[in-house]
Amino acid sequence: MHPVDILAIKEKLLLNEFKLTFYSLILYFLSFLSIIYYASDRKKTKKFASGFLLFTGIFCHLSVIILRWTVANRYPFQTLYESLLWFGFVTVIVYFYYFLKKEEGWIGGMVVLPVTFSALFYAFFFLNPVPEPLSPALNSGWFFYHAITAFGSYAVFVNNFAGEVGRVFLNNEGSKASIRHFSFRIVLLGFLLLTFAIVSGAVWAEEAWGRYWSWDPKETWALLTWTVYAVYIHYSRKTLFMGKYIFLFSLLGFISMVMTFLGVSWLAKLLGIPSLHAYAL
């Protein structure tokens, strides 16, 4: 088939992808509303309805990711548009597991679903969806492992923060303990993923730029996030999960994670600090 015909097919697929993004946006909003409704009396039918809406949203979102992967013919997390779609997807997948497995899983949805909705909303209405060819700077075997572990850790940290917010608002001690264990377990997973993202990033930087560490704003913020979560883990263990600053460290970790993901570009522009990660801004 001629490359121009392939391009026409790709455009059709992209238009469908764009529609599906909009459907998942609506479905996430509806599932958020239904979870609020479920929280009022916790009836199983309502949980089923919320879960079904969420599942349909995830299904549409998964189709978006697959279509993007196919059309772009590379991993779908190069531009900010794609990164936000991917981040939203991984975040909601982790939450869905939480929602299904735990009785009090609904409370995490109060944070996770608005975060996912905002990411998709911003990408859909304000960012350029046109897929670009693979940038030479990202043309490396490390790209996949580095990006997938970094986004995995971000998704997990959002869920940890959601759990910690839930702990503040819940009164039931049993539910608090259950959320506490879940939050701690997923933060361990996030810490592992972030460690791998930093290590793989350093090895990749050595190959690409001849330096494994440059104290670039993105690198430094990633290390800052890693350090804050190291504090969170050590503090939680030391105080047997009863410390009064656990929520504070979770909040700080969440803020530094958002800064690493999105805020660094803004800060670098604001303060005029050059960044080697300019292609990701």
């Binding site: 992209l14 060819p133 361990l188 090895v203």
Partner: protein
């Protein structure tokens, strides 16, 4: 008395509280390092209208990662990690604790190796013309011969999806936000990839390598990477030869300010699968009112144009590659240790997650 002091010191250095404080301090240092520009002198920072001047002057915030405070925190962290390792090893029945102690010890070794790497590594930047050979003589007696055989640029054309763009334009109308507009330049934008074809002679070994981003050359304790390129254009202006670098301002007979806004050459990989080759061509721009540069002419090699009253001829074009040469004897151990740490962290965390589940 001595026993009590030793016991106190042992408890102090092996405590998690100390680890938490040190980690928080290091987090503060990283934060400072991203707020203040690094490696800038205080005078330059002040001249540029920098804020928090007293912090920049007295706390060494402009070079925070090399400040004595940072070194002190890291040394304390190493001591803390070693004491934590010893503390964990006391309970040898628990295998998770043994693995955990091992990775804490490795982290301490990793930070020590980072110090060694920072002290022993040497970095050079060399600028080399096509066909030129440069010899680097290192302090340790090593001799590296680098020859640039060629330098070329490849462009990748971007696909155009007009229907999708139309939809986005409509959304822009609905929300009335300028940022919703697709940057039209995106469609004209092309990725440029630079490749320096180099030949390196080190001891008895000669290697040829296409150097580009993500494809550096590593041998022994050395690595060579391509970090920049320089272009020089030879023009004949009213019978006088001048060498001008792109984006450098120059004057002609009239009162206008000119620059070579773009030098274009190389291969374009087109969407339809074809490859187009471009001979060197330059675009000369003039500064117009409102600080806007306007392209006024395009010249191919050997072409001439009349700009104002001046005759400008494009004689030739040369390009240089900026290479970074790095000597770091610690980097291979750092790589090995980092993967070992990853493995141990993985084992500990998976065990902890399973433990929490039970």
């Amino acid at each position: 008395m001595l026993y009590k002091i030793i016991k106190y010191l042992y408890r102090f250095f092996s405590s998690i509280t100390l680890a938490i404080f040190l980690l928080l301090f290091s987090a503060l240092i990283y934060l400072t390092g991203t707020i203040f520009p690094q490696g800038v002198s205080f005078e330059e920072y002040k001249k540029a209208g920098g804020k928090f001047l007293s912090l920049a002057k007295y706390a060494g915030a402009l070079d925070i990662f090399n400040s004595p405070l940072t070194w002190m925190i890291f040394i304390l962290l190493i001591v803390n990690l070693i004491f934590c390792t010893i503390n964990r090893l006391r309970d040898t029945k628990n295998y998770i604790k043994i693995i955990s102690s091992l990775y804490h010890f490795m982290l301490a070794c990793f930070i020590i190796l980072l110090f060694i790497s920072a002290r022993l590594s040497k970095e050079f930047e060399i600028s080399i013309k096509e066909g030129e050979t440069k010899i680097l003589e290192m302090e340790n007696g090593d001799k590296i011969e680098i020859k640039l055989n060629g330098f070329h640029i490849d462009y990748t054309e971007f696909p155009e999806f007009s229907k999708l763009q139309k939809i986005k334009d409509k959304l822009k109308v609905i929300f009335g936000k300028e940022s919703a507009l697709i940057n039209k330049n995106n469609l004209d934008k092309r990725y440029r990839e630079f490749t320096a074809d180099i030949e390196v002679k080190y001891r008895e070994d000669t290697r040829r390598h296409p150097l580009r981003v993500n494809n550096s050359l590593t041998f022994s304790d050395y690595s060579i990477n391509l970090f920049s390129f320089e272009q020089e254009v030879k023009l004949m202006i009213n019978g006088t030869e001048s060498i001008i670098t792109p984006n450098e301002k120059f004057a002609l007979n009239d009162s206008g300010i000119y620059k070579i806004s773009e030098v274009f050459l190389g291969n374009i990989y087109k969407i339809d699968g074809s490859i187009e080759k471009f001979e060197p061509q330059i675009f000369i721009s003039r500064l117009e009112k409102g600080s806007q540069w306007e392209v006024i002419t395009r010249l191919l090699t050997g072409d001439y144009g009349i700009i104002g009253d001046a005759k400008v001829e494009f004689l030739s074009y040369t390009q240089k590659a900026g290479l970074g040469v790095k000597f770091d004897p610690a980097v291979r151990y750092l790589k090995f240790l980092s993967f070992l740490i990853m493995f141990f962290i993985f084992s500990v965390i998976i065990n902890k997650i399973r433990g929490e589940e039970q």
